[in-house]
Symmetry: C2
Subunit: 467 residues, 2 copies
């Protein structure tokens, strides 16, 4: 009889807990959708401040603005964390054309890749060798590549449903194309923009020269998908046409910048930390609304939504706005380094860096046991059309926090439109929908609330797991 | 032992069947995403033909164009089904202002509701009574309403996740507002646009006068959400301000138009019909890309995708492009009437009329047993991030087909952005994303394939149900 009573009490307490979680999540969503702040913050970040490449005036302004806004929220602490970041500048607008015969030119849209060297003053003019990837380039060998411009033209695979998968399948051309082509004596690299649709906008992004000596570092640029198609067609008609491009970007000395951090200190376990964040820097062509203004303002709103919902977190919840995700990851590395040196016990970190579109769910980087526990929460999100709970990657900035004890997670928004905007002049405020942004912030706050409530210890896994 | 063998064979056949369904669906998706036609068709329908209100030149052109395009697909039959439709014309652009003092006016954006009468030549100028809904209007009674313009200003509820639910909670103001206000002696009706965001675009839509005598039929218009807020604020400051509006829309005599129908005749059960469709007519302010150009081209592509995937349907599959969903539903009624008179056995009908956004799933109007069967297919859609399989409504055009024997279903795309565009000048081609549209067509074709393969008879339910 006694055991029966305990069972009844246990079931009852589970029900009370489940009901109250559902109600809390409903409150969070309701506040986000009727009284959210993320869209207003994004408006300022995008339309008043604009692009925020590391080391730029925009990045500096963004640090100042978000710190001030966090201070208005009445958090327990708000501070800046100093970090040295690379400073790369685009310089004058790039210029490029295809030359079918001497004097007969067709202008094409390009942009320098982030980290690229400039061209000589007179630009680079050479014949073009088109390849679908690095393996094909290597197979050609030095003889066929020397003195040429290498044109990487492998399109993103359209029949993959998750466009990030299609991106992952092509990003090596952009990142390592100039490194590989430089080793073979090429004089420049042109890469098809990582964009699924055909349009006129070149998409920048980071690239590396690895350990190449300076003499072998060749300029590298992205070309719009429409013009990649055009160039490929022209090459098919006449393989000996020339390509010309000119860019005067520069890598300057590192400068000081900052991660912006705000904290609600936990009431029961202040030494257990939960991080929610996005990256404050952006590329310089658009205003970085989706990448990653959205993640920044959603993360800020998570702490505000918890406060507005009357939640007093047991654990310390931090919003971290990381600097320099795009071309160095210095902010993410710095945050993890400091956390480690202070022996801070981080139990959960969540990043939003996949755009501000309708949230579909989360990917989790955790132990199987922990993931099983998290699956038990999935039902709580069903009313909000959140369905994607899968094991997978999280976010670049929180990656350096990875250890056995921590659960890392990434918000997974609908990905279909993302690469129309990613790293291009089309990444602008008008492409973000207010409700979609707010739904993401609410989903994130709800997950943070659950991790704060139940924690991640083995006992908690056993205690609260229900399936 | 014999029973055991049968069991093994049964399980084996289920697996073979499941595998082959998964492969077929993969093929359908792949063709849609790499070689879809829906976006190209929508481009023509939206940008070359434009708006397609019943009885307009655009509607006529759309009938001609889609019939020709279906004929190119090599279907077994393509034909037009004659139907008489109402013809309402907007006339000159509407004009409206708020008058705080004589001569002191603020221009506001309105549009006549579809089916509304015109104002007198000199327009309507009157004081305004603001209400949140029809009940509040009725409570005011004749005395407070007579001679006034009634301003219905109940906003869509922002914290509902499915925006169609928020729409459903407000559409009565637009549909029946003039009917109710007219009975109480009002001289005009202004309705807050059914749009969740604050912007400058008025959204039209259908309305009714019911059985009101002509003398009580008062003009009715929608006002943009920004201007609804403005009007409400001004009324709070001074309840005696005047509102002026002028519109010269007209209801003309009915004209002949057509449903456009194409068919692949079934190889095994040609007398069992499956319908997939959308509506060819649109409102006149935008180009009707989301409502319902998307549904039209997706439905057309369903038949093409089945053919391109090498599927020879057992049952007869029809694409039906319905005329006059927006202001009469004459096409949907006519199709059902003819089907009934011919004794055609329709087993499944699927409509896409909720926008061309990323598909999230389907809602099913069916028996519980049938729905249980359908749930067994849900797993097949998981790789495509289709997760929403719920009982619910289907589509207005296929509604008249409802009977005990038929399963009705509606495609459920992501709804967050839909009402930014619905029935307004913002419903244009640029708001449709190619991949999202193609994913919808593929999801629809996959569901049609499954219904064609397994049918809906009781035996089939028992045979193929697995859960």
């Amino acid at each position: 009889m006694k055991q029966f009573c305990i069972l009844i009490l246990f079931i009852f307490s589970l029900q009370v807990s489940a009901q109250s979680d559902a109600e809390t999540i409903k409150t969070i969503y309701s506040i986000s959708l009727t009284n959210g702040k993320s869209y207003e913050w994004l408006n300022h970040l995008s339309n008043t401040i604009g692009p925020r490449l590391s080391g730029s005036f925009g990045a500096e302004q963004a640090v100042k603005y978000t710190k001030e806004e966090l201070e208005k929220l009445g958090l327990d602490k708000v501070w800046l964390q100093s970090v040295m970041v690379p400073k790369w500048v685009r310089g004058l607008p790039e210029f490029a054309y295809i030359e079918t015969e001497p004097g007969q030119t067709t202008h094409v849209n390009i942009c320098a890749l982030g980290g690229s060297v400039e061209t000589p003053n007179g630009g680079v003019r050479a014949q073009v060798v088109e390849v679908k990837g690095i393996d094909e380039l290597k197979a050609l060998g030095k003889e066929k590549v020397k003195g040429k411009i290498v044109f990487f033209n492998r399109p993103m695979q359209a029949d993959l449903i998750d466009t990030f998968e299609a991106y992952g399948g092509c990003a090596d051309q952009r990142y390592a194309g100039a490194y590989e082509a430089g080793k073979l004596g090429a004089v420049g690299v042109i890469v098809r923009s990582l964009n699924l649709r055909l349009d006129d906008f070149p998409h920048t992004g980071s690239m590396t020269y690895g350990d190449l000596p300076v003499s072998q570092r060749i300029p590298s640029a992205a070309i719009s998908t429409n013009h990649a198609e055009l160039l490929s067609t022209m090459l098919a008609l006449n393989p000996s046409i020339n390509f010309f491009f000119k860019q005067n970007c520069q890598q300057l000395a590192d400068v000081e910048s900052f991660n912006v951090i705000g904290e609600i200190t936990g009431t029961e376990f202040p030494d257990e930390y939960i991080v929610v964040g996005g990256h404050l820097d952006s590329w310089d062509l658009g205003d970085g609304s989706h990448d990653d203004g959205a993640g920044v303002v959603q993360s800020m709103d998570v702490l505000r939504l918890l406060k507005e919902s009357g939640i007093k977190p047991k654990r310390s919840i931090r919003v971290v706005l990381f600097m320099n995700e795009e071309n160095g990851l210095r902010g993410g590395k710095k945050y993890a380094e400091v956390a480690k040196s202070k022996g801070e016990n981080h139990i959960f970190a969540l990043e939003s860096d996949s755009g501000g579109f309708t949230p579909r769910g989360f990917s989790f980087d955790s132990s199987d046991a922990m993931f099983e526990k998290v699956l038990g929460w999935k039902e709580l999100f069903k009313p909000y059309l959140i369905h994607y709970f899968e094991k997978g990657g999280s976010g670049a900035d929180i990656g350096p926090l990875k250890s056995d004890g921590i659960v890392l997670a990434g918000l997974k928004p609908d990905s279909q439109r993302y690469f129309d905007h990613h790293h291009a002049a089309t990444d602008t405020f008008d492409a973000v929908n207010k409700r979609e942004l707010e739904l993401g912030a609410a989903a994130m706050a709800s997950l943070v609330y659950l991790f704060d409530t139940y924690g991640t210890s083995v006992e908690m896994i056993n205690k609260t797991f229900k399936n």
